[in-house]
């Protein structure tokens, strides 16, 4: 036990004397949380839409009032008037405006006669996000336009009443679970990958191997010291991230205890995976070269930034075996729903079994000699 503690002591002393290392382990995921959270989380606003009105009838006045209401409230778009449709299309192609609404001649007459009136939305579909936002906004506008002025006393159409179980979740809160898992992964990658191989290459491990330390003590020492740093990063990110993202009741002690359990289990899973990947590696370039690939392969298919249900089948297979998926699911349950252990038991079980398998394989492959 003393030998395991000696390895942990050495590693932690080095870690706490290297502010740059601590910053990289914790600040990178925090920066990613803030930047990605706000970059993807906001509503699209202030688009410019050209309006070519070829009708000028009474119904177009109603339409214009509705455009004005959107510009004043949701601020999704403002309108720019065009007399010449060709000029409007030219400006759309050159990026001066984001879309063109064409109100054809006789629109008002067709509307009153209920003769299939139409308006056209010509959009720049190279930007799917902008196109979707405009489409959604104008679809709603057209629906509202079609509503009769006087509502029937008892509506005959089916309406959908939506009940939200939880308060509104901004994207930064949705992303927080992934950022905490990422912080743990970065620590595991640095501690269990880069530093482990650098120490091996520098001959530090040779120094350990000539002492009477056992294979079990060495593996436990390497794993626990790496896991402790990952746990630290996970806890810092959970706390700071929750405050930054505006998670309700961020210091709820019961949730903090549950978070601690998930952080510990996730750290052990990721560090043991890293240990298995690096157990026979001796080239210091290898962990650095695999860092980006592993990050992409584990982080994005996990559902951290986008729901797994949207993935193609092959990516769903990755998600199913990816420890990130289960960590992210557990963190989301705790951050966004404040659930109990019942909702995350499956995640904890997967991560624990994963740790045992990874450690078992790494122990088999680990050599007590050079």
């Amino acid at each position: 036990m003393n030998r395991i503690l000696a390895l942990i002591e050495r590693d932690l002393r080095k870690f706490f004397r290297s502010p740059a290392l601590m910053m990289v382990s914790m600040v990178f995921p925090l920066v990613q949380l803030v930047v990605l959270g706000y970059a993807f989380g906001g509503k699209i606003k202030n688009l410019k839409v050209g309006v070519v009105n070829q009708d000028h009838g009474l119904q177009t006045v109603k339409l214009r009032e509705m455009f004005g209401a959107i510009a004043a409230n949701a601020q999704t778009f403002t309108t720019v008037n065009y007399n010449d449709p060709k000029q409007a299309i030219h400006d759309l192609r050159n990026g001066r405006i984001n879309a063109v609404i064409n109100i054809p001649p006789n629109f008002s007459r067709d509307t009153l006669e209920q003769a299939a009136p139409k308006i056209a939305l010509i959009e720049d579909n190279t930007d799917n996000f902008v196109a979707s936002a405009l489409m959604a906004s104008l679809t709603q506008l057209v629906q509202d336009f079609n509503q009769p002025s006087v509502q029937p006393r008892v509506p005959g159409q089916v309406t959908l009443s939506v009940v939200e179980l939880y308060p509104y979740v901004p994207y930064i809160q949705y992303l927080l679970a992934g950022s905490v898992a990422l912080a743990i992964f970065v620590s595991a990658m640095i501690g269990g990958g880069i530093i482990y191989i650098d120490d091996k290459a520098r001959g530090i491990h040779e120094g350990y191997l000539v002492t009477p330390i056992t294979k079990f003590e060495l593996i436990m020492g390497f794993t626990l010291s790496g896991a402790l740093k990952a746990i630290l990063a996970g806890l810092v990110l959970s706390t700071l991230g929750a405050l930054l993202a505006g998670i309700p009741h961020p210091v709820d002690p019961v949730r903090i205890i549950r978070l601690f359990v998930v952080v510990v289990v996730t750290s052990l899973a990721l560090i043991s995976m890293m240990f298995l990947l690096m157990v026979r590696v001796s080239d210091p370039l290898v962990p650095r070269a695999t860092f980006g690939v592993l990050n992409t392969l584990l982080f994005f298919p996990s559902g951290a930034v986008y729901p797994v249900n949207a993935f193609p089948p092959w990516m769903k297979v990755i998600a199913r075996v990816d420890p990130f998926t289960y960590a992210v699911h557990a963190f989301k349950a705790l951050f966004l729903k404040n659930t109990g252990f019942g909702a995350i038991a499956g995640d904890l079980l997967f991560l624990s079994v994963f740790t045992v398998i990874m450690m078992g394989a790494a122990t088999l492959l680990f050599r007590r000699t050079l």
């Binding site: 030998r3 000696a6 002591e9 290297s18 520098r202 001959g203 120094g207 000539v210 002492t211």
Partner: protein, 331 residues
């Protein structure tokens, strides 16, 4: 009982034989030197003796323990200083030593005393609480030596302990090793490239080449075993036809080797051969551009047994040149 007994020890890597059936003994309390060029198998041998790699064949007993069957007993009684400096730069000298004391299972009550004693022995007590990154190369090497002794081993293995150190630091390390050996009753096995180091420190020297033992004896006996007392290195303004044959006829000349227009003459009587050499050059009408005479060193022994010189040593001017004569012409 010998401190180290090695019999037919062999190590093969994918068909390449790095250590080839070595057999030798190291007596208790002596400093035993392993000499050999790069790739001779010195480090492989040390790694087998310190349980870092398993031998392919043969037997090695360290302090009576078999390196294959009783590796943990071997590890408890040896201290090892590898070639690379492996102390943690961010930790202090004391912290580095404490970590290793814990790895060796030194009890807490003995730890502080031993660390203090060893830091004093290597004259680093003032630097005990400084991060290792602030120490010079020589100080770091001394710290590593102290670190290797933190569990009070009976045997000490040092792989090229002074490589990369300046001459002052090398001498400091030599003195320290002699003192530690005397005070702590250590048996030391070291590998080195430096012949003067082996000459100064070692009671016995084994010369290894291509994984084989080519010579083993005390430095004095090894020097006496080669057929020359002195060596002359000489160059000339021009080299006449058949000049090598003329040099071979010089009185007491044992052998003449020419390399890159420099003649290396082994002589049983250095002064007499030198005088005759200058006279022969005068008679041939050529000028002696440079001349160096040296008594037999371990370099000569090494060259004699391995058939090659450590060229990097020559470039660094580490030869014990007792007399140098230069006059005009090429230098």
């Amino acid at each position: 009982m010998a401190a180290i007994e090695v019999e037919n020890l062999t190590k093969r890597f994918n068909g390449f034989t790095a250590v080839d059936a070595l057999t030798f003994q190291v007596e208790e309390g002596e400093i035993f030197g392993l000499l050999g060029p790069n790739g001779a198998g010195k480090s492989t041998l040390i790694r087998m003796l310190t349980t870092l790699i398993p031998p392919t064949e043969g037997v090695a007993l360290v302090n009576g323990f078999d390196v294959i069957r009783q590796p943990n007993q071997v590890r408890r009684c040896i201290g090892v200083i590898p070639q690379a400096m492996t102390s943690d730069l961010e930790l202090t000298a004391v912290e580095n030593m404490n970590i290793f004391a814990k790895l060796y299972g030194v009890p807490r009550e003995r730890r502080a005393r031993i660390v203090k004693e060893l830091l004093e022995a290597v004259q680093l007590e003032k630097w005990a609480d400084h991060p290792v990154k602030n120490l010079s190369g020589g100080m770091r090497r001394r710290l590593e030596i102290a670190r290797g002794l933190v569990h009070e081993p009976k045997m000490f293995f040092l792989d090229e302990p002074t490589t990369g150190l300046d001459p002052t630091s090398r001498i400091a390390v030599w003195e320290m090793l002699m003192e530690l050996k005397k005070r702590r009753d250590l048996t030391i096995l070291l590998t080195t490239h430096y012949m003067d180091e082996a000459d100064k420190l070692c009671d016995h020297i084994a010369i290894v080449d291509h994984g084989k033992l080519v010579a083993l004896d005390s430095p004095m006996k090894l020097k006496a075993s080669i057929p020359a007392a002195s060596f002359l290195e000489v160059s000339f303004s021009t080299i006449p036809e058949g000049w090598t044959e003329i040099l071979k006829q010089l009185p007491d000349a044992a052998s003449v080797v020419e390399h890159d227009h420099i003649f290396r003459i082994a002589s049983h009587n250095g002064p007499r051969t030198t005088i005759e050499l200058v006279e022969a050059a005068r008679r041939a009408g050529i000028v002696v551009s440079s001349l160096a005479v040296q008594s037999t060193t371990l370099d000569n022994v090494f060259t004699h047994y391995t058939g090659r010189q450590l060229r990097d040593e020559l470039q660094e001017g580490k030869y014990d040149i007792s007399f140098m004569y230069q006059r005009g012409g090429r230098s």
